[in-house]
């Protein structure tokens, strides 16, 4: 792979890394965010810290490729290897700036389902929450990463594993959901924000994608940045050569990103 071309998932990792600010404590979890944190801390966020619900706290990239947060390279030279109660308590105290989530389904208000879905009237059981519900409830903000597939976008999730902005408006405050809720969704085609009512809107389209081709993927009338912020819909910045090099260093065989 050369630096001129990159995969959808490499672009998602680069976009996710940009969501980690310098000095943030990031709740990382599984898959692409494993790489995004390592990119962020190697570039614009050298003072960021990552925490993992297994009990790992790190301030730098792992010493080798990670399939999971518990692979030995993630434990080696960590700041701390501790317990889940320790990590989740940081979350509950409001100390986690940004948490990463995925999902089989996301709805208009950023609620996520990873528990069960219905396909052609048949119920399909998914693995479940893991730490996602806790991250969704308690992080100051969350970033959601998902493949861009129309079946994943639903008006209302059939099972709300990880609360987003609920039914919109002041739902989180009314339901006593402590954290800030989803701020960004990154798919393989676009990035999205959430407006003052908690509703999803298109913020930027990835290179080569136009609005018409994604608008129909949503079973409601999708809002755009132009309506919400008065700014036009942006174009997602492609990953830089440096960032691509890092992604390929942290995922040398493309297990997660190709």
């Amino acid at each position: 792979m050369d630096a001129e071309s990159y995969t959808d998932r490499e672009l998602m990792v680069a976009a996710a890394a940009r969501e980690i600010d310098d000095g943030d404590v990031a709740f990382v979890g599984m898959r692409l965010p494993l790489i995004a944190f390592q990119v962020a801390v190697s570039t614009h966020a050298p003072d960021a810290i990552s925490v993992f619900e297994s009990g790992v706290v790190r301030d730098d990239p792992a010493s080798d490729f990670l399939h999971t947060m518990c692979d030995l390279p993630n434990l080696d030279r960590a700041l701390s290897t501790t317990s889940m109660i320790d990590i989740m308590s940081r979350l509950q105290r409001g100390e986690i700036d940004v948490g990463f989530l995925g999902g089989a389904e996301i709805d208009r208000y950023g609620n996520l389902n990873t528990t069960r879905v219905t396909s052609r009237s048949r119920e399909i059981r998914l693995p479940g929450s893991g730490g996602a519900c806790d991250i969704a409830c308690l992080s100051q903000r969350t970033v959601v990463l998902m493949a861009h597939e129309p079946r994943r976008f639903v008006e209302r999730v059939t099972y709300n594993t990880s609360p987003g902005h609920g039914a919109g408006g002041d739902w989180r405050a009314r339901e006593s959901v402590a954290g800030g809720g989803p701020e960004t969704l990154v798919t393989t085609k676009a990035t999205f924000g959430f407006d003052h009512d908690g509703e999803l809107y298109v913020k930027s389209l990835h290179p080569g994608v136009n609005l018409a081709e994604i608008a129909d993927d949503f079973p409601w009338d999708l809002k755009t940045a132009a309506e919400v912020t008065d700014d036009p819909i942006g174009r997602t910045e492609p990953p830089s050569v440096d960032v691509l090099e890092l992604i390929r260093e942290f995922d040398p065989n493309g297990f997660w990103t190709r």
Binding site: M30, F52, E53, S54, G55, V56, H67, T68, M69, C70, D71, L72, L75, D76, R77, T81, T82, S83, M84, I85, M88, L91, Q92, T115, R122, E123, I124, R125, L126, P127, G128, S129, G130, G131, A132, C133, D134, A136, C137, L138, Y159, N160, T161, S162, P163, G166, W171, R172, E175, S176, V177, A178
Partner: protein, 298 residues
Amino acid sequence: MPQSKVTDLSAAVGRIEPGSAVAMGLALEHAIPFAAGHELIRQETDELTLIGPISDLLFDQLVAADLVDRVRAAWVGNVSSGTGYNFRRAVEDGGLSVENHSNFSIALSLKAGAMGVPYLPTRSLLGSDIFEENDRFREAEDPYSGDRLALVPAIRPDWTVVHVQRASPYGDAHFWGNSGVAFEAVDAADDTLIVAEEIVEPDVIKSDPSRTAITRDSVTAVAEVPFGAHPAPLAGRYNRDNEFYLDYADETNDELGTIAWLNEWVRGVPDREAYMEKIDRDLHVSEPTVAAEVEYGR
């Protein structure tokens, strides 16, 4: 003299009765006691309730062997590939009852059990269907601040099974690396089985008491099983065998494949030694990174 609790794995697992509630796979992807799980399958210990945050493949394998009535967990699947096909089939066919948790709620359940209190409050869960669908989770008002909270009731497993790096014959154990909810589950359980990579002299344990995670008073039995966590990793000893997880996913996505897998890897091998002889990969840590020396003094 304290009593030695050392026994072979088969005898130790034999003490876990059918119908037991067993917590295992508690350090997330790390240090999963697969050898003990496979022994449960060989002994056909059934009607089990399994308790844990995420079990990676272990719960899927016990479900595949048709030994499980109920799962109380946050996530059941295959961390390398996603779906645990046997768990999925069992739930979809209606043969398996699931109490859905988040990682924090299962941690708090075990912590409450460990602390000897009936429940613990949390700010998590509120607003989720995990909370809405389960009558055991209650809503309460904090009598001090008036805040709305979720109450998570205690879980007290009959047995907790943990894999550790080393233990004395009496059951005092050193563990390092991330621990997830392992120690809370030990304290919450009636009985604990320690599966140790290595059984060491009691003096080794007492040389570094800050590393002692579990003491003998919590422990019922100790079994020495090198590579007993494979394909999970164990800090300082061996890496995750990712290929094994991917092969499992390929080979168990239908019932016939699952039966063949269980016959090949569990029922057809008498013990862990024979099982490890079938693994043609060197998983030992390539470079042992050593901690700074710790001094206590007298």
